[in-house]
Symmetry: C2
Subunit: 616 residues, 2 copies
């Protein structure tokens, strides 16, 4: 097999591999993240790279490349990483910032919600014991000796089983004697998971993990004080295998090895963060005894290594819904060797444990008044209800508000336009990091829709109607220039096209029809909703009035709209800190939540179409 060499810049990585592979494949293999919203099919054009030096031969541009790359760009060496193959010799590849897989700059894990409601009663508990030494008068076996002490302390019942991992039982006789019968046992419910020397009851930690499809949040919690002592995040490295979830499911479904690879990627990313966090905080990973994980159903399945294939196919069925707990070792998570990983329950294939975490964090199941929780993403989870019933649905909003499938769209990273105001032909905007603009992120797109409509640049159906506005260009596809090329980072106009607007209206319609249909089922008018919780970092920066005016959010008093930020991790933290919160989660999911499959609802189509216009 012919060997070729690729240098990746600006990383400064050199790879020797065999010829005729795409640059995207090679980059993925060595863990260099290149955007690939379509999963490497040549359909999204987001994986542009620049061949800065070619000593040898590369493949000719494909039709797909000609669609996304201008002749000028081509002459500069631009290519699509998923299309170009190195046939011989060596190439230098530069990955521009736009094409790099990056995480939002936004502050992580911020929420207005508190995790203190349920108090501190974790599943993990520690007990310091001084056991009497065995003698010819008291020859109880080691484990029974320990068990009796736990019964005396009312930790376990006389009749209940005390589970012990085999590895721990194997060493038990040595441990208790080495510690001279003065030891601390760690219990997870009725399971003995650790035995330590002397009194270590002040050292007990847990993790809350929110596995998002693009970002993984991790909070390290002191389970003795209840305080969160460190928070961190990492990009979900599965992004390398496709921005959207369906692409990842497709990849995972191709072979058990692929699933295993995606699983390992996410676990390794988390393990790296754990190592970093614990070393900074000066604690030992062995003092972390439990991790509570939330995430959408697909992330949940991949995290545990469960085949996610059928979540993506009608009727969108996950493998399991209930809360599950497994040894961290079996999952691969690097905490105490007998530590446990617990996931909150799921609601359905597209309403996952993150939605349940939001329920716990907002406690809308306690109030008599009707509340709404929206978690806007490629699938927007919609929860509507009160102490009697909570309807749950997933609206297929697509990734438009995340900047994908929008020509000038981008994630909320440095250089993204995050807010826009229009006054006739004047456009005022603000970018993240106050940098030269590179594209427009979700909050900017919402503003843009509202402002273009208000300025009569488009009509309520999104059709360009402006006359004499110098920023509107009636080309093959009409467009509105948000930023002239002179101001932009790339030196090219940043524009929103009629096609982009259609995408955004459809996304908005999906979300709107979700809560509209649920309101209808509960027999209430959307304006009667007492509280609208908008979850996710997305919400933190949107203009509420604009979001209401384009019909994305229900027409309620803006004071009733609460942006709860990264609320899912708050819910995870509550579950980590309190078995009561877990029981509540299970109880609410089992007895109050009713899942509505929108695609199977006879009314959904009609409501969806009615929801498209900007002034519905």
């Amino acid at each position: 097999m012919k060997k070729i060499v690729i240098f990746f810049e600006p990383m400064g990585r050199r790879v020797e591999t065999h010829a005729n592979r795409t640059i995207l494949e090679v980059a993925r293999e060595i863990g260099i993240g290149i955007r690939s919203d379509c999963g490497g099919l040549g359909l999204c054009g987001k994986c542009k790279i620049i061949l800065t030096k070619v000593c040898g031969e590369v493949s000719k541009p494909t039709d797909n490349e000609y669609r996304f790359i201008t002749p000028e760009e081509l002459s500069l060496g631009y290519r699509l990483a998923c299309q170009v193959r190195v046939l011989s010799g060596s190439v230098n590849v530069f990955i521009p910032r736009e094409s790099r897989v990056e995480v939002g700059r936004r502050v992580v894990g911020v929420s207005v919600l508190s995790d203190e409601y349920f108090g501190l009663r974790p599943a993990v508990r520690k007990f310091h014991l001084k056991l009497p030494e065995p003698s010819l008068q008291d020859f109880r076996p080691d484990l029974e000796r320990l068990r009796d002490a736990l019964i005396t302390l009312h930790v376990i019942d006389k009749e209940s089983e005390l589970q012990v991992p085999l590895d721990l039982l194997r060493m038990l006789p040595e441990l208790v004697r080495e510690f001279r019968w003065n030891l601390t046992v760690t219990m997870w419910h009725n399971k003995l998971i650790s035995i330590e020397k002397g009194d270590t009851t002040r050292r007990m930690f847990g993790l809350a993990i929110d596995v998002g499809s693009s970002k993984i949040l991790i909070h390290l919690v002191d389970l003795v004080t209840g305080k969160t002592i460190a928070t961190d995040f990492v990009e979900n490295p599965q992004l390398m295998y496709g921005e959207d979830i369906v692409t990842r499911i497709t990849y995972a479904s191709r072979s058990p090895e692929n699933l295993r690879k995606l699983q390992r990627l996410v676990i390794e990313a988390i393990n790296n963060v754990i190592a970093k966090m614990t070393s900074r905080a000066g604690i030992d990973v062995r003092d972390i005894y439990e991790a509570v994980v939330v995430g959408n159903s697909v992330m949940h399945h991949i995290f545990f290594g469960i085949v996610p294939k059928y979540i993506a196919r009608s009727p969108y069925v996950p493998a399991v819904r209930r809360m599950i707990s497994y040894p961290a070792k079996e999952v691969g998570l690097n905490i105490n060797e007998n530590g446990i990983v617990t996931s909150l329950p799921l609601i359905a294939g597209f309403v996952g444990a993150d939605a349940v975490a939001n329920l716990i964090a907002t406690r809308i199941y306690e109030s008599d008044e009707i509340s709404l929780i929206l978690d806007i993403g490629t699938n927007t989870e919609v929860l509507l209800g009160n102490s009697e019933i909570i309807l749950a649905a997933s609206a297929p909003s697509g990734p438009a508000f995340e900047g994908a499938q929008i020509s000038c769209g981008m994630k909320a990273v440095a250089g993204a336009i995050e807010s826009v105001q229009i006054d006739g032909s004047k456009v005022m905007y603000r970018t993240i990091g106050d940098l030269r603009p590179r594209g427009i992120c979700g909050s900017g797109l919402i503003d843009l829709l509202a402002e273009m409509y208000r300025n009569k640049i488009i009509d309520e159906r999104g059709k360009f109607v402006a006359v004499n506005n110098p920023r509107v260009i009636y080309d093959e596809v009409p467009r509105f220039i948000v930023v002239w090329k002179e101001e932009s980072a790339s030196g090219k106009n940043i524009a929103i096209t009629a096609r982009d607007i259609d995408e955004l209206l459809l996304a908005k319609a999906a979300i709107r029809s979700g809560w509209t249909l649920l309101c209808k089922k509960l027999g209430i008018d959307p304006s009667d909703i007492s509280k609208v919780y908008v979850a996710g970092s997305f919400g933190m920066h949107i203009n509420v009035d604009n979001a209401i005016s384009i019909g994305l959010l229900p027409p309620v008093d803006r004071a009733k709209v609460i942006f709860i930020g990264e609320s899912a991790i708050i819910g995870a933290r509550m579950a980590l800190k309190s078995t009561e919160a877990r029981r509540k989660a299970e109880d609410v999911v089992r007895n109050k939540v009713k899942y509505v499959e929108l695609s199977a609802d006879p009314e959904f189509r009609r409501i969806y179409i009615q929801s498209i216009p900007l002034n519905p």
Copy 2:
């Protein structure tokens, strides 16, 4: 490092290794079993081998070798395998039958007891399910769909947890669809351990395993019919590391690797038998879902890989006493990949799960009358009681009745004298296999004691008192010639010495004082015992009258003495076939059995000494 070569005969094995290692070490390493009662210390003389050819240099005979090897033998090439080292070149080593590790010839697993009392209600159950396919109207997750079906069949309660091994959950979505929702689930209590295509409810097997310190018995049971479809046994390969248990504990205690090695040895031996049995019976190992294991506490601990060290040290405490169950995978046992290994509970450090199996097999806990169970071995387990209380003790009888530490002693293998009658100077005997005699096994030794006393060759204290008996030689150590050299297999006299008789009297005294003390504690006379159960293959061939006359067994009507043979495996089989039997075992051990530590009892010493004479 200098290389040397050893040829082992009659195995025909060639080994290249480095110089200066003992032949025993090398043999152990490649799995050739050479007797080594003392664990390779040069103290037992049982590891005699013959150097049939030496091309090179071997170490000079040690003092230990001179003690056990006559000059004549030495000239023939006899050496002790644990002493002789090959320094250079190559040697041919012949291992005589006496020195080979061999298993008794006796029929395995025979018992007068039936395993049918508790009926057929195994912990493993199978259910054939035809599940409705998911649809947009019925989008229950796969596991909940399965769970609901099990609830409908009353297999599990609505509220009870359904445990699923992670590996199984991971593949669940693929399995149920591949099987088109027509499948058989295997449950172990509330744990789902297997999912198979179509209806496999007629295929369900289990294993009963009795891990003896010298012999491992394995029964393969059809859990659908309750029939035992195959029985087999294998020598416990740990014998390579010492005949007696304390030697093995010492070896295991030296390092975790040593323990792991002993554990793997026993598991591998069992796996080999499983492979052989299943292939002969034409069944798949994956159709074996549970193994119930019994054995003494040390064998139990080593089987599971639990540190056995402290069982051998006062106060003789095991790590755990209760019934334990672990995934077969964690133990290494090759049955269904999610199969379970369960051990019956232990009673104490030297009264193990085999004794509990005997309790279940005899059900002495049901009768109002007092019964005795004796399991004679290096430690003799003594159980005495009725439906109210059962006293348990371990008598330190030593291995004399197994032929060890007796100059002419040997195990009950081919060529062993198994019964003896004396009429003055005439000796009549029978050997196993009707071969020329090689030595005397336990049943023969009992006869010999009784007959020598009856013929006034020895007095009640074992002192030689015969005059004019041509078979009695008053040498430095007086002896009685059982077989003249002309008749023996080795061409040497087979004799029993005064020292041998002392050993046997002490062994008898230990056993006798065990049941005497327990009778005293219950306030009964030994002659009041209603039934005497003698467990183990040992009992199958002893002469009851002689055993009673020398005081080994209590003075009861001989019809009350029942030899129950390999009863522990019957108890294991009962537990395999019935969860009720397990509950009973747990209940009896916890609520009826009271362990008496003989070494801590103030009366034991006195009773022991009183028990030494032949006519106590």
